[in-house]
């Protein structure tokens, strides 16, 4: 019965998120047989080079909207749909409230009435943009460390406004403009333009630059005052073409690889016209982008999809090496984005935790345990799949930045929790897995709000071997000590609530010792592997760098607990207290030392977590003070001597 329950819960929980995930639509399929998919799904699958890596437009859109508004969707509209509007029809986004201003003082300074939701539209900010530019210029002169919160916010909002504005211009080249209006039908005819049309785009004229040049040869022969109306018109068109190519250079949205085989640069469509229009393939790709713009406007979904597919195929055939490999992982990344596996894992961990808490009230709590365990297993499944997808997408081990340490530590702690539960069978493992999985994925979610979490590696980290050994073992060490600390919490709570249940106390104590031992071994292994890596990279095994010292502190702390235990200076309660404080040591080594902003591990620096860390330490001290005093009242001593 119990086994059946586990299987049913697993199937239900595994199936649910897959229903929400959209099917993978691989790139590179035949152009002649476009699939019946939503046009914007195709658009989201276009490859784009951003932040040093090739990614799908879907990821780009999410990151951009996250940067501007702090959210990955806008009023139930997906990020990619919003980006499409921003690029193809910018004016439709002017009233979208996408600019988050966290500080009301900043909004007030810009002459905007502070909004309770803290989000403002481009129309609202446009009136105060001159003021914003002025304030940002002044704030920029101040040393970054000395800026106030308002000044920081002004700079951030200003850069976001510029970024937004630059995106609105990306596809201007394909839209008809008054600057390219041609009233003279002779010119229209000479340039081989549609005779019934008078309003043209930059692209229309740039693609007929040769014809235009032929027409303007006579300009050099005559003085400007002697030019005819037609010649003046031709000069105006040439002049406008030149000014556009200058004004709209270096725009974002780099979706066209530079034609030279050795170059890794990608260009925005406008830059591609200015710099690489002579290349026939680039010319063809720009024409396809233009078709996208036109068909988006005309609501021609089939044509839109066809243009995108042709465009993507052309890009795939043109790039080689790592870029090609990156493009081939785009379907995985689309699935990763859409399935939101970490989100589902977090929900399942929270549900398991909820069942654990509910079990205190339930009469038949033994029946609830397999359900909770199944939820944890299902959560772990999503957790592992998500990490595996990240490995496939990036082609490297899963931990290289602070965000990734949280998701990896979360996975190891859940795995440890399941192991404990299978041995202990007393809810200890479920509660550890539930709390750790939920908490670490929640913290990771906060870091994910900073932008794209799949980032490129700095030169010193560019070693899959050391990332796969040192970093994984050190983070596994963090996991072990965190699990020991959590079991330590449970031990103290058991001392308070069930002081006479010696079997349960002994079992929890053994789990705690096991987890602490695992933490010590992995921390030691990770630290020494780090020493060897440092010896390979920097020429010394040990350099007293803050991050190295942090790892040493964990080892020393574990060694102190074990030696104190062997010498009977502390008993099980003392070990529990030490294990709880071990989490504080891990927090310090993990991201506390990053707050110092000194040392060689600068790629891991972060800010803004100091308050959270201090509050956590204060909370633990309070818990230990109250918990230990009650436990001692229940005749459980800290020491054994």
């Amino acid at each position: 019965m119990r086994k059946k329950m586990i299987i049913v819960v697993c199937l239900l929980t595994l199936g649910c998120p897959l229903c929400f995930a959209k099917p993978i639509c691989p790139l590179g399929g035949p152009v002649t047989q476009p699939r019946k998919v939503s046009s914007l799904d195709q658009f989201g699958a276009i490859a784009i080079l951003s932040d040093g890596r090739v990614k799908p437009v879907d990821t780009y859109a999410r990151t951009l909207l996250l940067q501007l508004s702090g959210k990955t969707s806008l009023n139930k509209e997906s990020a990619v749909a919003w980006l499409a509007r921003l690029l193809f029809a910018p004016a439709t986004t002017f009233n979208d409230k996408v600019f988050i201003i966290n500080n009301p003082e900043t909004a007030f300074a810009l002459g905007v009435t502070p909004d309770p939701k803290r989000r403002y539209s481009f129309t609202q900010l446009r009136t105060g943009f001159a003021k914003l530019a002025e304030l940002a210029r002044l704030a920029d002169k101040i040393d970054a460390k000395k800026r106030s919160a308002v000044e920081e916010e002004v700079i951030r909002v200003y850069h976001n406004c510029l970024l937004y504005d630059r995106h609105t211009r990306v596809f201007y080249f394909a839209l008809p403009s008054a600057e390219f209006q041609i009233a003279d039908t002779d010119i229209v005819k000479a340039l081989d333009l549609p005779p019934q049309q008078t309003l043209f785009s930059f692209y229309d004229l740039a693609s007929r630059a040769d014809l235009l040049r032929q027409q303007t040869k006579s300009l050099e022969l005559n003085r400007p005052e002697d030019w005819s109306f037609k010649e003046k018109e031709l000069f105006r068109l040439m002049n406008n073409l030149y000014h556009w190519s200058i004004s709209y250079r270096d725009l974002p949205f780099q979706i066209i690889p530079a034609p030279l085989a050795f170059s890794e640069q990608w260009l925005s469509p406008m830059d591609a016209i200015s710099r690489a229009f002579a290349d026939p393939q680039v010319r063809e790709e720009i024409a396809l982008v233009r078709t996208m713009v036109v068909s988006y406007w005309n609501g021609e979904e089939m044509l839109f999809d066809f243009a995108i597919r042709s465009f993507s195929n052309s890009i795939i055939n043109r790039v080689a090496g790592a870029m090609r490999r990156n493009i081939s992982t785009i379907p995985f990344e689309l699935f990763y984005n859409q399935a939101n596996l970490f989100g589902w894992a977090r929900v399942l961990y929270a549900m398991a935790l909820g069942i654990f808490l509910f079990s205190f009230l339930a009469a038949r709590q033994k029946r609830l345990r397999p359900v909770a365990l199944a939820l944890i297993v299902a959560g772990l499944f999503y957790h592992v799949v998500a990490i595996a997808l990240r490995i496939i997408i990036m082609g490297r081990p899963p931990v290289s930045n602070l965000y990734e340490t949280f998701i990896f530590v979360g996975m190891v702690t859940v795995l440890a929790g399941i192991t404990i539960e299978l041995v202990n069978r007393r809810w200890v493992g479920i509660s550890v897995a539930g709390v750790c999985g939920f908490v670490f994925l929640t913290i990771a979610g906060k870091f994910a709000a900073e932008g794209d979490t799949l980032r490129m590696l700095v030169a010193v980290l560019n070693s899959n071997f050391w990332l796969g050994t040192h970093v994984l073992s050190i983070t596994a060490g963090y996991s072990g000590v965190c699990v020991a600390g959590l079991v330590g919490h449970l031990y103290i709570l058991q001392c308070i609530r069930y002081p006479k249940d010696k079997i349960a106390l002994k079992s929890t104590y053994h789990n705690m010792i096991g987890a602490l031992g695992f933490g010590l071994i992995m921390s030691f292994l990770g630290t020494t592997l780090g020493g060897i890596w440092a010896d390979q990279s920097w020429g010394r095994f040990w350099g007293w760098d803050p991050k190295e010292n942090g790892a040493l502190l964990i080892i020393l702390w574990c060694a102190i607990i074990f030696h104190a235990r062997i010498g009977r200076f502390i008993g099980p309660l003392g070990v529990a207290v030490g294990s709880v404080l071990g989490i504080v040591v891990v927090m310090w080594a993990w991201f506390g030392v990053n707050l110092l902003s000194v040392g060689l591990h600068s790629y891991g620096f972060t800010s803004g977590v100091a308050t959270g860390l201090m509050m956590y330490v204060a909370g633990e001290v309070l818990f230990l003070t109250i918990g230990v005093s009650i436990a001692r009242r229940n005749n459980i001593k800290l020491s054994q001597s």
């Binding site: 080079l49 951003s50 932040d51 040093g52 890596r53 780099q254 890794e264 640069q265 990608w266 490129m456 590696l457 700095v458 030169a459 010193v460 560019n462 070693s463 050391w466 053994h510 031992g517 695992f518 010590l520 071994i521 030691f524 292994l525 020494t528 592997l529 020493g531 060897i532 890596w533 010896d535 390979q536 990279s537 920097w538 020429g539 010394r540 095994f541 040990w542 350099g543 007293w544 760098d545 803050p546 010292n549 942090g550 040493l552 502190l553 020393l556 702390w557 060694a559 102190i560 030696h563 104190a564 062997i566 010498g567 200076f569 310090w588 030392v593 110092l596 902003s597 000194v598 040392g599």
Partner: protein, 384 residues
């Protein structure tokens, strides 16, 4: 039988018994914990170099002006003695304690490795412009007073280490019939061009003032005022690029206070330096120095013997891929581009004869930890 007798006799020895106390172990571990934490925080205010000197390389230091506190060196020595005594009298040498024994053997190896590395490692750096070669690296923090003459492009250099240099000390360059008497030596100094004049100096510096020690050791420049027998007072400052040229017995000599030079048993020539960036970012993907390694062969004279400038081999030095040659290891450390756009690469040069000891210690300790963990699990299973 005999071993047991010795073991029992050692166990009865009160000094060894005291030194093997677990209380000492715990005290040392706790002190190490405090020192590591304190030394980490201190780096924010005083920088890595000064914090290392104060907390980790010292036997004692004072805080709040006068309160003494044991330094890491002292604590590690006490812990080392404690560990030896524990190994002599407390350890149970049985199969079920094999893991513990191996762990502590590995830790003892760590102590030996730390001692050898600390006392024998020589760290220096070598900066080369593209197409430039050298077989001499210069130290980060150590300085020397060097005197040389140039004869047909070959430098014959005599140098004195400035560590512990005191007023009144005589530096004897008897091969050149020259003697330098130290008047003042400042390990950290500032140079001034003002003064009464009359002091020989290559850059017009006429006075030195002792200066506070800077956080970054590379910003500290020593200064020396000395009397050169028969030639008068001279002033040497570490921040000078040019050496002081002196003429003695119709021969030109050069005198300079410079970062300590160390010859290498091979010549290195930088062929090309390359830095690669992740596209559209300011994040470097790799730094690479393509060098020619030219080993001694016989046709040219160098400081350590003859060299041949042909038959070289190419080596690509990059992050995580250093060049190893005997006890020397060269790492990619930094690079610079001058105002004319010429690239130079700086390589960290480390000479460490005990380089593999920490590897061995790490391996031993980890094996011990894993074995102990497995034995614990096995014993628990047996109990059940």
């Amino acid at each position: 039988m005999m071993m047991t007798t010795i073991h029992k006799r050692l166990q009865r020895n009160p000094a060894i018994k005291f030194c093997a106390s677990l209380k000492i172990t715990l005290t040392c571990l706790t002190l190490l914990f405090i020192l590591t934490f304190w030394g980490t925080i201190d780096q924010v205010y005083n920088g890595l170099y000064l914090s290392q000197e104060r907390f980790f390389h010292s036997f004692f230091f004072t805080f709040a002006g006068f309160i003494p506190f044991p330094g890491t060196q002292l604590v590690l020595w006490v812990l080392f003695i404690n560990l030896i005594c524990v190994a002599l009298v407390r350890f149970v040498y049985a199969w079920d304690h094999l893991g513990i024994t191996i762990i502590h053997a590995g830790l003892l190896l760590f102590f030996v490795a730390a001692y050898i590395t600390f006392h024998n490692t020589k760290e220096s750096q070598l900066t080369l412009m593209e197409k430039e070669g050298s077989n001499v690296s210069s130290a980060y923090h150590d300085w020397e007073v060097a005197l040389w003459k140039e004869d047909g492009g070959v430098k014959d250099v005599y140098a004195y280490d400035t560590r512990g240099l005191r007023s009144g000390e005589k530096l004897d360059f008897s091969d050149y019939d020259l003697e330098l008497t130290v008047n003042h030596y400042y390990p950290h100094s500032e140079a001034y061009s003002g003064g009464t004049g009359g002091i020989l100096n290559a850059s017009g510096i006429q006075a030195l003032q002792p200066a506070p020690r800077q956080q970054a050791p590379e910003k500290n420049f020593p200064g020396l005022v000395a009397t050169l027998a028969g030639l008068g007072p001279v002033l040497l400052y570490g921040g000078e690029d040019k050496p002081l040229k002196i003429t003695h017995q119709s021969q030109d000599y050069f005198l300079q206070l410079r970062r300590k030079h160390s010859p290498m048993p091979f010549l290195l020539r930088l062929k090309d330096f390359k830095v690669e960036w992740h596209p559209h970012t300011q994040v470097a993907r790799s730094y690479q120095s393509l060098v020619d390694v030219i080993v001694p062969d016989g046709s040219l004279q160098g400081p350590l013997g003859p060299f041949r400038l042909s038959g070289s081999r190419e080596v690509l030095i990059s992050m995580n891929k250093p060049l190893r040659y005997k006890d020397f290891t060269l790492y990619q450390a930094s690079y610079a581009i001058d105002q004319w756009g010429r690239e130079s690469s700086t390589l960290a040069v480390v000479k460490n004869s005990g380089r593999l000891l920490p590897y061995l210690a790490s391996f031993t300790t980890v094996i011990g930890l894993v074995l102990h963990f497995l034995l614990m699990v096995f014993k628990a299973k047996l109990k059940h």
